[in-house]
Amino acid sequence: MTTDAHSETPGTPLLSVRSIEKSFPGVRALSGVSFDAARGEVHALLGENGAGKSTLIKIVSGVFPPDRGEVLVDGKPVDLARPDDARRAGIATIYQELLLFPELTVAENIFMGHAPRAGLGRIDWRAMHEKTNALLASLEIHDLQADRVVGSLSVGNRQRVEILRALSQDARILIMDEPTAALTEYDVTRLFDIVRKLKARGVAVIYISHRLDEIFAIADRVTVLRDGAHVATKRVADTDAAELVQLMVGRRIESLFPKITVPIGKPVLEVKDLERRPLTRSVSLTVRAGEIVGLAGLVGSGRSELAQTIFGVTPADSGEIRIAGRKVDIRSPAQARSLGLAYVPEDRGTQGLVRPMSVRENFSLAALGKVAFGGFIDRGAERKLADDGVKRFAVKTSSLEQIAGKLSGGNQQKIVLGKWLANEPKLLILDEPTRGIDVGAKAEIHRLMGELAAQGLAILMISSELPEVLGMSDRVLVMREGRIVAEFSREEATQETIGAAMMGSHDNAEKAA
């Protein structure tokens, strides 16, 4: 641990959380959770969605007070009634949704609310820029200018701006809530560099992530929460992924990727020379009944765009699509649906789920034709459809009338998936099917995918998680800059071969699909 100017006894942790309890109407969110973080320590918080991580960090960042228990900084209890109190105590939080002003510059964002002042309350722009440059230099960030407008930055760079903002307020405890959820591999590497620099400076980092490999790469210790209770705190060096998963879900997950080998049938989807610029360029691919085809590629390589072109959201300019051998011209999602296509989009909240509507209404949304007669919705049939879905996918909901947006991410994803399966599709396109959901729900979705393929459904799966691609796919296609640049059979596919094709370091003579 690094030493610094503070004069407490060396044993005092920088942040200490003691027996926190918190209840909301009807749920006990936290029951006596304790953990601590020392100077220069990266302490990971791990748990399924709904385990209480978010509640815990909201208490530590002063969003709401605990019912019982206390938070100590430098061994002294602090009263965190408001977010401002947390800021004063040196605690800064970087949420999943970055809270920046897209129209303002990097410097303005960093110093929002505490800009250096010249006389008469004017903002001292020169000092602000100098301080920004000093902050940038201190983290060795050279590709970010103080006067760039934040809206024009990549997600990775915006996140750096948030980190700089925290540092500009002299934060000594930095909480990061799933910081890598929206980052590319490269940005993740850079984020880790920054976290290591912060560590060296004596900042305590509370790191929340679903991705176990990240925890092993960056964290010193890990605390596992389950159902609002503290399960264990382990040194990362003393544990392994299997143990953490078991602690997290309270049971053994038999196999994370239960791809069953099933007989592959006739082609369901055949795409030839599909073109929709700029991100779909002369794409050809085939998906057969019972087959899971993984579509790998970097963020921005055109995978989602390809899916949306096939699905008619952004109809193709040219090229050919055949469904079950028949040539079709798909101009709208409604048409794609009637042809037996289903698309579970990447962004659950904005594209998949109608969050303010009930579980029942979401389940029937893509299959209204099945529960309506002459345009009139049969309430009984609709309720049955939703009820079947809830049972089949084990959605944890208090009732069919529950507002879907209030469920956990995993349950929301099951609803989006279920909504499409209610329509009995022939081809299922899954776009990042397990992003941001916990290990238990993830395993369930993987199990479902295996079952569906066994029933003869053709599945095209877009995923940025290579282990998922490798574990679930019969074949892997790799996209780069709008083209399919490589194809691997299950046997040929490895992290290295796919990774190389994604990055473009691969030999271009590789057979294109």
Binding site: P25, A334, L365, G375
Partner: protein, 327 residues
């Protein structure tokens, strides 16, 4: 948070707080009726109430499709101007083109629907925000009406035409029957059909509605066309009631209509609202106007009261919603 039991009313199609909002509005309406009735003996008579129903029909007919539109998160500000345009064309085509009156009525309804369709086409194809598009056509349609009429009014319609605007059918003003039928049909469409469900889905999350294969653009075209058509119908009823056609007819209707819809609990941000709420909102505004006028309150003061009621109801609605969201 998924384990929180919801109140019983959540078993209904609409969120419970909205039901609360309508209930609350109905209670206020009832109180206002009692107070105003106590102040003036002429207010709470069947004759007066039926007459108020007659007067509110023109706004009411337009408020129904407006409820649909606002539920999708859109708005139609051109309805008042469409009323003016249709009224003028009704008179003009009868007098100047020599159309028989039934044909003139059909023509004016057709023009109303076409005016609405134009709004819908530009909104869905060119993606112009509804607010901008309908502000533009608010000016455009009114300008057309004034240009065609050349400030001349048309009067002297045949006697049978005044039936719908002035006579009674089974003791109830004839146009009120029209409104009642429109209310029942709209309520059933909104509450029971896939069309109604699509409206809510668009208002709550248009992208997800589109990605779910719902015919978003077609539905929007239909509701804006319907809005124009109902504005045309409203124009016919209005001309029949006041026996004359002028180009300034329907000025300011859009505000009365939107006020009634919003007062009835339909969220201006879309996704939430019912026909019953709109009906209560309509009744509230009309009866407040009438009751206050009968009690001797001057016109300006009446508008102030209505403005205050609107603000109050919005405040209560948003506080109810905040409680629901647990913020």
């Amino acid at each position: 948070m998924s384990e929180i039991p919801l109140p019983q009313t959540a078993k209904r199609v609409v969120p419970w707080w909205l039901l609360r909002h309508e209930t609350m509005l109905a209670v206020i309406l009832l109180l206002a009726l009692i107070v105003l009735g106590g102040l003036n003996s002429r207010f709470l008579t069947l004759d007066n109430l039926l007459n108020q129903g007659r007067l509110t029909t023109e706004v009411g007919l337009i408020a129904l499709p407006m409820t649909f539109i606002i539920i999708t998160g859109g708005i139609d500000l051109s309805v008042g101007s469409i009323v003016g345009l249709c009224a003028i064309l009704l008179g003009y085509s009868w007098k100047n083109f020599g159309f028989p009156l039934p044909l003139a009525i059909c023509f004016s309804l057709l023009v109303g629907a076409a005016a609405g369709l134009l709004n819908g086409i530009v909104i869905t194809r060119v993606k112009v925000p509804p607010l901008i598009m309908t502000i533009a056509t608010l000016a455009l349609y009114r300008g057309l009406a004034e240009g065609i009429s050349q400030a001349r009014s048309v009067r002297g319609y045949p006697e049978w035409f005044y039936f719908i605007g002035q006579e009674n059918l089974f003791g109830v003003p004839a146009q009120l029957w029209l409104l009642l039928i429109a209310i029942v049909v709209s309520a059933i469409v909104l509450d029971r059909t896939t069309f109604g469900r699509t409206l809510y889905a668009i208002g709550n999350n248009e992208t997800a509605a589109r990605f779910s294969g719902l015919p978003v653009d077609r539905v929007k075209l239909i509701i804006y066309t319907l809005s124009g058509l109902m504005a045309g119908l409203s124009a016919c009823v209005l001309v029949s009631r006041v026996t004359t056609t002028r180009s300034d007819m329907g000025i300011g209707y859009e505000l009365d209509v939107i006020a009634a819809v919003v007062l009835g609990g339909t969220s201006i941000f879309g996704g939430v609202g019912t026909i019953w709420g709109t009906v209560v909102g309509l009744a509230m505004i009309q009866l407040l106007k009438n009751g206050l006028a009968l009690t001797g309150v001057k016109g300006d003061a009446t508008i102030v009261v209505i403005g205050a009621v609107l603000i109050l109801s919005t405040l209560v609605a948003s506080s109810l919603q905040r409680r629901r969201d647990g913020v």
